[in-house]
């Protein structure tokens, strides 16, 4: 992982078109401003991970498979 130090008000540029700016640092909270083309999707990581996991969860194996698994757990 690349690690850089930035002060309040300073920015990073990713890939020429995406700006990530540290807008405020206060206690243990950092506020970040992101300027990016409209087709770039930005997620909080925990939300992104939850969406991915919900996708996985929706890909059901068959009802019998699930039932067998759950019976094993009893």
């Amino acid at each position: 992982m690349l690690i850089l130090s930035r002060k309040e008000g300073e920015s990073l540029i990713l890939d020429g078109g995406i700006e990530i700016k540290i807008t405020e640092i206060s206690g243990n909270l950092v506020r970040i401003g992101i300027t990016a083309p409209s087709d770039v999707k930005v997620y909080r990581k925990e939300l992104y991970a939850t969406i991915q996991e919900n996708q996985t969860a929706s890909h059901g194996v068959s009802a019998d498979t699930v039932k067998n698994l759950l019976l094993q757990m009893k």
Partner: protein, 162 residues
């Protein structure tokens, strides 16, 4: 009856006046009462357009495992697990705006399961539980603060060893 509406929902409902057929992913066509549906006041993340579900369980399996079946898309179904089957120590701290989403009442918490084969690799999501207010027939998925795993083994470790 082989397939049942989850009791915690069912006992709140006068059944019979709004019966409808529902095509399900795992059980074919079943009959439900429209009053038995649950509305997701906060979305299942990534599935924002689907808001109406029924909670089903099989008596022959356990009422601790719920089929969360969409009433809008027969192919959309999730498996929910009672947290107590995983851990005695799971006590989710819900976000401050929970009451404004789900209303007052005694909430129930369910974990979204990802069933995989082999079974031992199946997991539950402790980070993002589904929370239900049975009284108002409302539900929402919440992302909790703190270091909770999105993929926690469905099988208890101590059971694995025996």
């Amino acid at each position: 009856m082989y397939l049942r509406m989850a009791a915690f929902i069912n006992e709140q409902v006068e059944r019979g006046d709004k019966l409808m057929k529902l095509e399900t992913r795992d059980f074919g066509e079943i009959e439900i009462d429209e009053n038995e549906t649950i509305t997701f006041a906060g979305p299942i993340f990534g599935f924002e357009k689907y808001r109406k579900f029924v909670f089903l369980y099989q008596e022959s399996v356990s009422e601790h495992f719920i089929w969360l079946q969409s009433t809008e898309d027969p192919n959309l179904c999730f498996i929910l697990v009672n947290p107590h089957t995983i851990s005695d120590h799971y006590q989710p701290v819900l976000p401050g705006d929970t009451v404004s989403i789900l209303g007052d009442g005694d909430y129930m918490c369910w974990l979204m399961a990802s069933i995989r084969e082999p079974f031992e690799t199946s997991t539950v999501n402790l980070k993002s539980p589904v929370v239900v207010n049975p009284k108002l027939h409302l539900a929402a998925q919440f992302i909790l603060e703190g270091d909770l795993p999105i993929r926690h083994p469905l099988f208890r470790k101590e059971e694995k060893s025996c």
